[in-house]
């Protein structure tokens, strides 16, 4: 971070307005091109054979019959994607996940692939491939995987982060710990301590667009890839490394993306499509079916969390302790670690400890899902905080306000906070009319808070001034929901020109320098920072050109309202030169005018939200409906408030689906039972109410405009907010997500049975 990126408190003309997005018309007319909409001349259809077993050794694969089928142009197995990872464990896991080598680790694990002239032939060919499996014992449940005697996925897996190194291998791949103070001393000061175990089931990001790509490798070793991705530069890197290509010889063009939410941060089919294209010497298009998306691409973790929190009667939290077990699929991840870091991030705690355990299971490799790992931890913590408030007879909002982290608080995961939004969102919740609205029969109200770090990272942008003075901005982060509009607003603001004069495009990997993945809510934060710097770079050139045109020293030129203006007694009466006039003269003043910037965007301001939710539970069936919902979140500065609201609403809806209905269901055979939208039911329009939003703006001191990421935090509070609402309606504490109708009904029945027992004994 440099002095240039500090927040200056400026007022805005463009930023904060709500213009129409430049890609809108293409998206309402069917013109926008998504992953599956790209076709190349002579392209083949690729298709992947997947394991039906959750755990097996691959003895042999016979592809000869498939190869002999007319119309089949290539068949590949792991042998065609040899291990070039050179001891890089993370990369090896990616490779092994894309194409199984010695073992399959989950139902849906890829074992072979074909490229054929059409889909029917490709499907026929898959059936002709014979795989000889030696079936091994499997484990899919998080608690069963850590129990003694569980089948161990990897014989060489000794828990990392434990000293001394364990003698026996286990499914706990890694342990991490965070916190400070002395939790025992803290609990000793508590008047009330609550200890509970929570479970959350595995969910899928559920983007409506399945993974899709078209790969084309030329005999000279160069290649092209069109793909729906959240990070084309990272995809290029991984694909090139796995295929042994020079990175710059692979050009990756991101298509429009039909949802990602973290799930399109990982390569799955892309290296396979490239390997097929290389072998067939033809372009190959590979589109996953919905079944494949569920079985083989990025779900989030299933978790089991032990939590213990103590408070004084006066409502001061004295200590918090959590052990979090998160599944990461068959390969080590950092999911429990993120859960451990986020658990208590909302609170100012003297004594806190969190331990994360990454648990290996025979399920697909866990991938990021919007604020990955935070919703489950928040479910546990925010449920217990609410229960504690009830026990000491304090309003749950007041208890949270009393303990909220603030500027200067040392966070539970280490860093000391700058100005943050948890206190303000809680205060806004307390004052919100939703909080005091009357409730109907069988209804309950709950609230909860959420936190997400937000990321920055490597970013660059190009800002080219066209000869007519219009501006084309090229960015390297993906537009998942209006970013092109937001970044055009930022460029317009900095240059002092109208929004309509700027057009933003997402550049491919050969037109722009490296950009990190569009994740961690970093897109608008990082690319706006680089856009501001690019614009400032262009402005300095524009001033030089104006000085040349006027033949005055450049120090006498300022940039204001989209024009170069001469200042000082001697030159102050010169008529300003507009961007268009300077651009038109460019051929005679030094050539094309452009601004560039490359940076590591540091200082992504942390993000907090408070949600309020009303539910109605049908006591007969346990079916629970959200009847009113309010999201209050800090945006730092909302560049395009409508799209910020959209992020808040979309995250809340995903959280509501997670809380009430969505879960991966595995059979005893280790196979996924509900790999489709009929049985994995995400919220539909009639399941939800309008979702009210309130945007707070507590400027991020480390961004010139005060911007924070806004994309993820809103998925964090809903699980607990709904759990708390159910508890407030019926006095039952839900500890297992999703709170599906059968689980709620069971809890209601249990509570009723306990109550009638009390009556009998009394």
């Amino acid at each position: 971070m440099t002095a240039d990126t500090k927040f200056t408190g400026q007022t805005f003309k463009s930023v904060g307005t709500r213009p129409l997005r430049p890609d809108g018309i293409d998206k309402v007319t069917g013109r926008a091109r998504y992953g599956a909409d790209i076709d190349l001349p002579g392209q083949l259809v690729g298709s992947i054979l997947r394991s039906p077993h959750p755990h097996a050794a691959i003895r042999a694969i016979n592809t000869s019959k498939a190869e002999a089928l007319q119309g089949v142009k290539a068949v590949i197995t792991a042998a065609d994607l040899p291990d070039l990872t050179n001891g890089n464990k993370e990369l090896f896991d990616i490779l092994d996940n894309c194409m199984a080598r010695t073992h399959v680790y989950y139902d849906g694990h890829a074992v072979a692939a074909v490229a054929a002239v059409d889909a029917v032939t490709a499907r026929k060919a898959l059936k002709l491939i014979k795989v000889d499996y030696e079936i091994l014992p499997h484990v899919t449940d998080v608690d069963e995987a850590v129990a003694p005697g569980a089948p161990v996925l990897h014989k060489k897996c000794f828990t990392q982060g434990v000293e001394p190194k364990p003698k026996k291998p286990s499914n706990i791949a890694r342990r991490s710990e965070f916190g400070h103070g002395d939790v025992d001393a803290g609990f000793a000061k508590a008047d009330v301590i609550i200890e509970r175990t929570f479970r959350t089931e595995q969910t899928h990001q559920g983007y409506i667009e399945p993974h899709a790509c078209v790969a084309s490798i030329s005999p000279d070793g160069s290649g092209e890839l069109w793909v729906c991705t959240q990070g084309h530069f990272v995809f290029r890197q991984h694909c090139a490394e796995l295929l042994g290509m020079d990175v710059s010889k692979l050009r990756v063009t991101p298509t429009e993306i039909g949802g990602g939410f973290g799930g399109k941060t990982h390569v799955w089919a892309e290296p396979v499509a490239l390997a097929l294209s290389r072998k067939a010497n033809r372009p190959v298009k590979l589109v996953m079916s919905r079944d494949e998306v569920f079985r083989a691409s990025g779900p989030t973790s299933a978790t089991s969390i032990d939590i213990r929190i103590g408070v004084t009667k006066k409502g001061r939290i004295t200590a918090g302790d959590a052990t979090l077990r998160y599944t990461s699929g068959p390969y080590v991840g950092m999911w429990a670690e993120l859960g451990a870091m986020t658990s208590f991030a909302c609170y100012d705690m003297k004594h806190v400890r969190t331990v994360g355990l990454e648990v290996l299971v025979n399920r697909p490799k866990t991938t990021a899902y919007r604020a990955p790992s935070a919703p489950m931890a928040a479910f546990a913590v925010e449920s217990v905080i609410d229960e504690l408030a009830g026990r000491i007879g304090m309003d749950p909002v007041d208890l949270r306000i009393r303990n909220a982290a603030k500027k200067g608080t040392r966070s539970s995961y280490g860093p000391v906070y700058g100005p943050i939004g948890i206190g303000p969102t809680l205060k806004a919740a307390k004052e919100h009319p939703h909080m005091s609205a009357p409730l109907g029969e069988n209804q309950g109200r709950g609230m909860a808070c959420g936190f997400w770090f937000n990321f920055g990272g490597q970013t660059c942008t190009d800002l080219n001034i066209a000869p007519d003075g219009t501006v084309s901005l090229t960015v390297g982060t993906i537009d998942v929901g209006g970013a092109r509009a937001s970044l055009a607003l930022v460029a317009a603001e900095e240059l002092g020109i109208p929004y309509d004069q700027v057009r933003t495009v997402v550049g491919d990997t050969s037109t722009l320098g490296y950009n990190d993945m569009t994740d961690g809510s970093r897109g608008t934060f990082s690319s706006s920072m680089a856009t501001i710097m690019s614009a400032r770079n262009a402005i300095s050139i524009l001033k030089e050109r104006a000085a040349k045109m006027w033949d005055i020293p450049v120090e006498k030129v300022i940039w204001e309202d989209g024009c170069a203006k001469a200042v000082g007694k001697k030159h102050g009466n010169l008529a300003p030169l507009s961007l268009a006039e300077i651009a038109e003269a460019a051929p005679n003043t030094g050539g094309p005018i452009a601004g560039h910037n490359e940076l590591v965007a540091d200082g992504a301001g942390v993000s907090f939200a408070t949600h309020i939710c009303d539910v109605e539970v049908d006591p007969e069936t346990g079916r629970t409906q959200v009847v009113r919902y309010t999201v209050i979140q800090d945006a730092g500065k909302a560049v395009h408030p409508t799209y910020v609201e959209g992020q808040y609403q979309g995250g809340a809806a995903q959280g509501i689906g997670w809380a009430l209905n969505e879960e991966y269901v595995y059979g005893d055979d280790g196979r996924l039972q509900n790999a489709g939208f009929l049985d994995y039911r995400i919220p539909v329009c009639s399941d939800l109410p309008m979702i009210d939003t309130q945007i707070l703006e507590i400027p991020n001191p480390n961004h010139p405009y005060g911007i924070r990421g806004v994309g993820e935090t809103s998925i964090v509070p809903p699980l607990a907010a709904i759990g708390n609402a159910v508890s407030n309606a019926f006095g039952v504490r839900m500890t297992h997500v999703p709170m599906s109708a059968p689980r709620i009904l069971a809890a209601l029945d249990e509570a009723q049975a306990a109550a009638s027992e009390d009556v009998e004994t009394a």
């Binding site: 129409l20 997005r21 007319t29 039909g258 919905r290 929901g481 809806a653 329009c685």
Partner: protein, 157 residues
């Protein structure tokens, strides 16, 4: 066996070849080139492939290409009148009823079918009429508002 199908798509007489077991979705996308029709599931669960067949909303992944012989098909590509957007299209953009936009063609067709039969739907009627279309990005709030705004404007027109 490949068959020739003669039909009317978005007002034009169109002929396409298709296999007996090929879905209308695949035929529209791969044979006719109408890629605005999207596939989210292929099993009738997401509505991304929604088209209007002889005035009725259908999932084109559940219809065979051969079934549209002699019938009329409307897709998102036929919604606007040249450069002039349909009110639904402009309201969807204005109200930010799309984020990623993959579900949008399906929602536009479902909303069109709704408003044709019910020009003044309540919020609940809108929500139930659109319940066959999945959107993972928006939480539906802005979609419902865009449809309400369209209905209001069309009623005035």
């Amino acid at each position: 066996m490949t068959n020739l199908v003669n039909t009317n798509i978005n007002g034009d007489a169109v002929g396409f070849a298709c296999e007996a077991d090929e879905t209308l979705l695949d035929a529209l996308r791969n044979r006719v080139g109408l890629k605005g029709v999207k596939e989210g599931c292929g099993t009738g669960d997401c509505g991304a492939c929604s088209v209007i067949l002889d005035g009725t909303l259908v999932c084109s992944c559940l219809v065979l290409g051969m079934e549209v012989e002699g019938r009329t098909v409307e897709t998102v590509e036929g919604l606007s009148n040249g450069a002039e957007l349909h009110t639904l299209q402009s309201k969807f953009i204005e109200h930010a009823a799309l984020q990623c936009g993959i579900c949008t063609p399906g929602f536009l067709m479902a909303a069109k079918a709704l408003l044709k039969n019910n020009p003044d739907p309540s919020e609940e009627e809108i929500r139930y009429a659109l319940a066959g279309n999945l959107c993972r990005c928006t939480g539906y709030d802005k979609i419902v508002r865009a449809v309400q705004a369209t209905a209001a404007e069309l009623r005035e027109a």
